[in-house]
Symmetry: C2
Subunit: 360 residues, 2 copies
């Protein structure tokens, strides 16, 4: 078997090796069923057990209160950008958006199709390299939407935005930092995340939604666009993405075995900490995000010289450090070091960077 390399992809991203090994063993037969994991009916006992374990572990890991539904949907976070305003924002209402990156902007664009959007804050003035501290909410927003981690720019909220009308509910696009640290779900109305960074493969989207919102959603939409449809049928109104849910269940088991969300937080602080520490000390590489806004998940950095960046990326790739190229809107490098990214991979990267710096 080919050796695995260090995969810094921003998503789809590295998965725990033990999870992939277990999935591999179950591809032709899930346990002793004689039927592979992708081939089981979603209505049959073996898959229903998988889906139930996925939900139970998700609830346990995040301490999700009983008055929240846990949904496994299709369509990615991009579908949620639309489903949220479509369900909750009427023409004469206003939703408040914190604009901290391209994903926030895409979410705003969809919301404007349905109602008014008020911008609480924006860090676009500095190419989204920081999380604004000044926030101005509208008087009575229907909801307040933020992107807890900005995948492209490597910034992350240290805590939930606060200070808005308590009539409004908080919505979080947590696609790129879900379960990277403990979370107080009771502060939120809706948390959503495409699985493909911290939770599993692409093709399944986790949505955690409060029961009263499930009820309040627009009932004139097609079935698939109403949260109540999925809530009422345990995400099995239609055929769910069974393999994705299975892998997510295995990832939840792995998170639990590694100390739960608190354990993930310790791991992530240690991994990101040593990388930022090196970047701060390096005279070749500089981190691009504001110090107070640094992400635990996506570490962005540049040399300040496009040719050197290119030379570094080329050498990195040749030596088994893959997908380190930054997004074109930032340039330079981005090391995505999600939950499953091994600490040894960060050590290896730092040592490679030091060598490069010494010879550059």
């Amino acid at each position: 078997m080919t050796d695995r390399i260090w995969n810094f992809s921003a998503g789809p991203a590295v998965l725990p090796e033990s999870v992939l090994e277990e999935a591999r063993e179950n591809l032709l037969s899930l346990g002793d069923t004689g039927v592979g994991i992708c081939e089981h009916s979603h209505r049959g006992k073996p898959f229903v057990a998988v889906a139930e374990e996925a939900e139970a572990l998700c609830r346990e890991l995040a301490g999700i209160p009983d008055n929240y539904k846990v949904l496994f949907l299709q369509g990615g976070a991009s579908t949620q950008f639309g489903m949220i305003p479509m369900n909750f924002l009427a023409k004469d209402q206003t939703a408040d958006y914190l604009v901290t990156g391209s994903w926030s902007k895409k979410a705003v664009k969809e919301a404007k199709l349905f109602g008014n959007v008020h911008t609480v804050c924006s860090s676009e003035d500095k190419n989204f390299n920081y999380i604004p501290t000044d926030k101005t909410y509208s008087d009575s927003p229907r909801y307040v939407h933020f992107t807890s981690n900005n995948t492209i720019y490597g910034t992350q909220f240290a805590s939930e935005p606060a200070g808005f009308s308590n009539e409004a509910f908080l919505v979080n696009d947590s696609s790129s930092d879900i379960f990277c640290r403990p979370i107080d779900v009771s502060k939120y109305g809706i948390i959503y995340a495409g699985a493909q960074k911290n939770l599993g493969p692409s093709g399944v989207t986790l949505v955690i939604i409060r029961d009263d919102l499930v009820e309040q959603g627009n009932s004139e939409l097609t079935s698939m666009l109403q949260y109540r449809t999925h809530a009422a049928s345990d995400s099995m109104y239609n055929t769910p993405p069974t393999f994705g849910i299975y892998l997510m269940m295995l990832v939840f088991r792995w998170i639990k075995a590694n100390g739960g969300l608190a354990g993930m937080h310790e791991r992530n602080k240690a991994k990101a900490g040593k990388l930022y520490e090196y970047l701060d000390s390096s005279s070749l590489f500089q981190p691009t995000a504001d110090k107070a806004s640094r992400s635990l998940m996506n570490v962005c950095f540049v040399t300040g010289d496009a040719d050197k960046d290119a030379a570094f990326l080329k050498k990195a790739d040749a030596e088994g450090f893959s997908a380190l190229k930054g997004h074109r809107s930032v340039g330079g490098m981005r090391a995505s070091i999600y939950n499953a990214f091994p600490s040894e991979g960060v050590d290896a990267l730092i040592s490679f960077m030091k060598d490069f710096e010494a010879t550059a």
Copy 2:
């Protein structure tokens, strides 16, 4: 490794064993990339090559004309039930639906949210056990929608519905018989299918759509609900279900290696043929679908005695014939024998049924 059993699941359904074996080998490293198939960025070369091969093989197998787009979407056929009228049916327009089963009815329900629905024909009078021959179209339907194979009832159209205004375009929910036989794509405006019966795992939906329709779709919808969004970005506007597309690509390779759609048709006629032949000769089991409307994919049958059905199902399950229980709206048994279901499994089932009949 556990022996594989005969899996008659209606979907998710059996996949070619060689496809699963190949997927297994690529779960920790796709080829020699050192990164597993689920972990590759959808924008990276290795996955883009997979997606391109999937599209190219799909086009080759079905002879898809150049003026059609091939899309790999999320959300299942159920999302298409809504997306089609949402994109093409205005309030004052009429769409014509052929109602041949529960899935057709669900499609109708979503269409009624957007415009008028005219029922061309319905076989509900006989619990959908036949494909109607009498059809009355409306004068100028926007489109004509049919379900080419009725998964639950085991009926299938022998050929495309015809005789409607040539201003209308034909839409086919081909979820449960896509690529079971050659198809003349040029007769259609849109063909869609959840992958989980004939093409791959659940979580990816194939949509074949004519270019002029991509252009005509409602442009006031959210990005994810417009076909043009996906058409313009080769189904990569957002993160696609990468593993599902990979498995579909492997299934397309398998279809090609096994004679293409003509080869599938021969296989399917032979498999279904011998099962119906036995059912016709059996004095214990009766097929439920009208002879002229029989499906190549889902073979439904009963003993006429609920207790005997239950005894049969219990014994079948114990002997490794899995998921033979019919849908509750038909009762009895259903053998789903999609493209990937092996001919030997049909032989084994027939011989088991003969034994059961002999001792019942």
